[in-house]
């Protein structure tokens, strides 16, 4: 077999895999149902209405953030207008060592600064619909994981309790 022919076949295969391989978010888009405005999803995310990255598995009363960056995506209602912003509300528990420390929230590349003044903390921020196709919206959070809990090897950030959005 000629090397050129072999190269061609390999390149076709690479192209085939690149074109036909799905991204995890595509599975989410296919399987998840619409998240209605003001519908509260708790940390368990039982109906998988949220696509969560950067978080641990669900624990009995919360879910830890465990990576430097986290994002939460959801399928909004279909009639959402391109000019609308959606307001994200997250209920979190911030560990004592991180109270008063800055973290960042918002849309990808345009994060706003926030800080929690107490352990129980409600974080609100806007995510614009424009710039996305409106089928999936994602909220980005950049909160470092610095907490070490005795008996747990992970670096932990904050505890996620619930998530919802509303249309402005």
């Amino acid at each position: 077999m000629k090397p050129v022919f072999s190269l061609l076949i390999i390149l076709i295969w690479v192209f085939f895999v690149a074109e036909t391989g799905k991204k995890p978010i595509e599975y989410f888009e296919e399987k998840s149902t619409v998240l209605m405005p003001n519908e509260i999803v708790d940390w368990m995310n039982k109906d998988r209405k949220l696509y969560m990255a950067g978080f641990s598995r669900a624990e009995p009363n919360f879910r830890w953030s465990k990576d430097e960056e986290q994002h939460i995506c959801f399928k909004p209602v279909e009639n959402i207008h391109q000019k609308n912003n959606v307001k994200i509300s997250m209920s979190i528990l911030m560990p004592n060592i991180s109270i008063g420390k800055d973290f960042y929230v918002g849309e990808k590349g345009k994060l706003e600064q926030r800080a929690c003044s107490s352990v129980a903390c409600s974080v609100e921020f806007d995510v614009p619909v424009s710039g996305s196709d409106g089928r999936i919206l994602c909220a980005y959070i950049n909160a470092p994981s610095i907490l070490k809990v005795n008996g747990d090897y992970r670096n932990l950030g904050y505890k996620l309790i619930s998530f919802k959005y509303s249309i402005e």
Partner: protein, 411 residues
Amino acid sequence: MTELIVNNSRKRFISTALVVVILPVLYFCILWVFVGSTPLRWDAGWYRNIAENGYRFNGDIWTQNSVAFLPGASMFLWLIRIVFQLNYEHAQILSSIITYAIGSVCFLIYLEGKMRVEAAGMTIIFLTFSPFGIYLFNGYSESLFYCIVGAFIVFLEKRKFIICSLLVGFGIITRPHGIILLPILWAWWAYPLISRGSRALNICRSLLSSMFHGLPLMLLALMIPMALTVYYYVFFGDSLIYANALTAWHGSKSSLPFFFERLFDWGSAPISKTHLIKRMDNYLNYSVEPVKLACTLFLINCITLIIFSKKLIKNNLSILFSFQLGIIFFSILTGSFPNFGRHTIFLFPMAIVAALLLNDLYSWCIAGNFSNKINSAGGIAVFVLIVSVFLLSFSLFVQYGLMQLNGIWVS
């Protein structure tokens, strides 16, 4: 006279092969009978399920799915079941034993010419009775991959490239680590064709040319993985479904700082709830957290590989050396080493170096170098160190083996 020497060496090879195959298998069976529970848990069940029912996928990537497993081990299991007319569980045990035996004999063949056959046998014993050696017998894909790597190394040394490329293809669909074999095959094919010259430019041109002419071999090696991606696409609409399911299953990615943190944080007794690891104090008076041990083994093996690289290459162990380098790069790139202790069974410079040192020590004793007290003390110290490390490793093999057979996930 020559015939007598050949016969004698063949007898030594056969007896060593019998020891390295029978002893670990027998020991594992004793552990298994002693505990009285099935050794085929967790992932072994998934491999069996695939062999029995084929792939099943409900479209939800976040639930545990059989598509998160490569099909090589299941295909082999299916074949063993057909050939020996056994039920799936028995066929799975038999396939582990067969692949372990073939892999060990292959490694023995490869190592035999580089050291005394008894020392070669010691390498396999060190490797098998290592803390995570239990994974070579419990129906996981590790044993088949061990066999594939052993056969690949033997055939690559004999320069049987067609067979090697087929082994690479089957290796890739058995364990993701199989991808390491691809560049090794390519390099070994291309290296002798490089023309030696004084100018760097000529050497580079020659290297590229020889690699280019090796592309048909790469295509042959990729045929089986190609067919698998097409199969995935036709049946599940996603040619990368394995990667997606695996990532969704395991979730987190690991990092180098994370690795060092696990390595040095020995004091806090980190018992992981997510990894289902329970306290081991019930089994022996001391315990080592498997996740931490994996990091430690990884580091010690890396250091051993670096320190003894010259010795390994000098002893014509270059193929094995490059495989070990490949495993290190793979572990770092994928972050698999802090998560899965069982991956360290493919990283065994400690085992090879210990056997090489024992081999040297034996030759040194035969040469009658005991007259020098300092040399004697050094020799004894090396011997004691190797025996101590082996005993520690063996005790962890027993401990982790008992834990796993008692239903505690160790990795």
